[in-house]
């Protein structure tokens, strides 16, 4: 009886290891104030041709704020403008283009494209978008004495985010930083160090979790065979 349970445990861990479900990784964009963000979220042409789509912002506590929703007249290409956001739905191409202009520091946060079908829960399209908007370095130079701690802290916080993050090529994140070389180098030199720390953290966590599973099962086996 005990042996059967042990085998069950072993096979369960086998299956759990095999599953490795695809995580919804964030895509990160870094911008300076005044710049824009463009992203394209694919959706399945067959399933969502005539269904409304939305652009939402996720708060720190998981609360959802819907910023823009596509037109009610669905099944045709449509474009809606709300505030500084525009949403273009092209059902024949299975794509939703999002455009946010005149970005501000307060716009920093997590966003997502979804299939909007209340009362049913929204369906996530594409990947969650992590947006980081920093102050214009030219402006920042003028206000250097009061602002720098806030700016740097914000960057550190987002980069050590434990969930996997796809970073875009350097050209994306360093756009606009060329204006003030000193400020640029400060920020750039922090990046490799912080990404190494987060990589090391992830690797160590992976090894630790696997060793925990092995240790537990080892003890269980020892106990059984000991009898």
């Amino acid at each position: 009886m005990r042996k059967a349970r042990l085998w069950g445990l072993l096979w369960t861990s086998f299956i759990l290891e095999l599953q490795g479900a695809p995580r919804s990784e964030e895509i990160k964009y870094t911008r300076t104030e005044g710049q824009s963000l463009s992203e394209s979220c694919p959706f399945n042409v067959m399933k969502y041709f005539s269904i409304r789509k939305a652009w939402q912002r996720l708060g720190d506590r998981g609360e959802i704020q819907t910023l823009a929703i596509t037109d009610r007249v669905s099944g045709q290409s449509s474009k809606v403008h709300v505030d500084r956001c525009s949403l273009e739905d092209i059902p024949t191409e299975g794509i939703l283009h999002v455009h946010m202009t005149d970005l501000r520091v307060e716009d920093s946060g997590l966003y997502q494209c979804v299939i909007y079908q209340p009362p049913k829960a929204p369906v996530l399209l594409h990947h969650p978008i992590r947006l980081v908007v920093t102050k214009d370095p030219a402006q920042d130079l003028a206000q250097r004495s009061t602002l720098p701690p806030v700016t740097t802290k914000a960057r550190v916080k987002t980069r050590t985010n434990p969930s996997p993050v796809t970073q875009l090529p350097a050209s994306e994140s360093t756009a606009g930083l060329g204006v003030n070389p000193t400020h640029g180098t400060d920020v750039l030199s922090m990046e490799p160090r912080i990404s190494v720390i987060s990589t090391v953290t992830i690797v160590v966590c992976g090894i630790l979790s696997k060793s925990l599973v092995f240790t537990f099962l080892l003890i269980a086996t020892q106990r059984s065979f000991g009898r």
């Binding site: 072993l10 086998f14 695809p22 399945n44 042409v45 024949t92 191409e93 794509i95």
Partner: protein, 194 residues
């Protein structure tokens, strides 16, 4: 005896854990029939793809099928002729063509934008096609193997993002391509995302 079995199970578990680290980019790039070999007409295309690409679109030619290197070579020529001479494209529309002979035929390749899935998807996806019509019939397993090997190669070369997504042609355009049977198959691929 059961002690041995338990030890074996442990060893396999450990290997599984290690195996997870062994990613696709350790695959060697398999053989691809180059354009010269299948006697392709010269390409007149100039637009490049921004790499690494995030998407792969799988289609079928819905045309004649082939299952030998000789017949698939001819079929690749036929497809290119139709696209370049009849439809007026700068080259065969696809980045790569897969034959049921189990070989991959070089189309526009990794670097040049294809004309396989419309103006939205062509600049953001690698288009691979299976030569034949797969509504009622599945492609031979060696064709599937060739396609999978090709995509692993794409990751290894940095042409595809490691977390690239596979889409069926019908997922991104209004079409029956890649055919019901082939569509069923690709939906089971690990990188498939609807």
């Amino acid at each position: 005896m059961s002690r041995l079995c338990a030890l074996l199970a442990w060893a396999l578990l450990a290997l599984q854990g290690l195996g997870e680290g062994a990613t696709e980019d350790e695959a060697c790039c398999g053989p691809i029939v180059p354009r010269r070999e299948w006697r392709a007409l010269a390409s007149e295309c100039a637009q490049e793809l921004k790499l690494p690409a995030r998407y792969v679109v799988v289609s079928h030619t819905a045309g004649g099928h082939c299952d030998t290197p000789a017949s698939c070579l001819q079929q690749a020529q036929n497809v290119q002729h139709y696209h370049a001479r009849t439809l007026g494209y700068c080259d065969v529309a696809y980045n790569f063509l897969i034959g049921e002979d189990g070989l991959v035929y070089e189309g526009r390749g990794w670097k040049i934008k294809g004309d396989h899935s419309g103006p939205t998807w062509n600049p953001r996806a690698i288009g691979i096609t299976f030569m034949g019509n797969f509504m009622e019939r599945s492609p031979h397993p060696r064709a599937i193997r060739a396609a999978k090997s090709l995509l692993a190669c794409g990751v290894a070369r940095g042409a595809l993002l490691p977390n690239y997504e596979v889409k069926g042609h019908r997922d991104v355009q209004q079409t029956l391509s890649p055919g019901d049977r082939l569509y069923d198959i690709i939906q089971e691929w690990p990188h498939y995302r609807e």
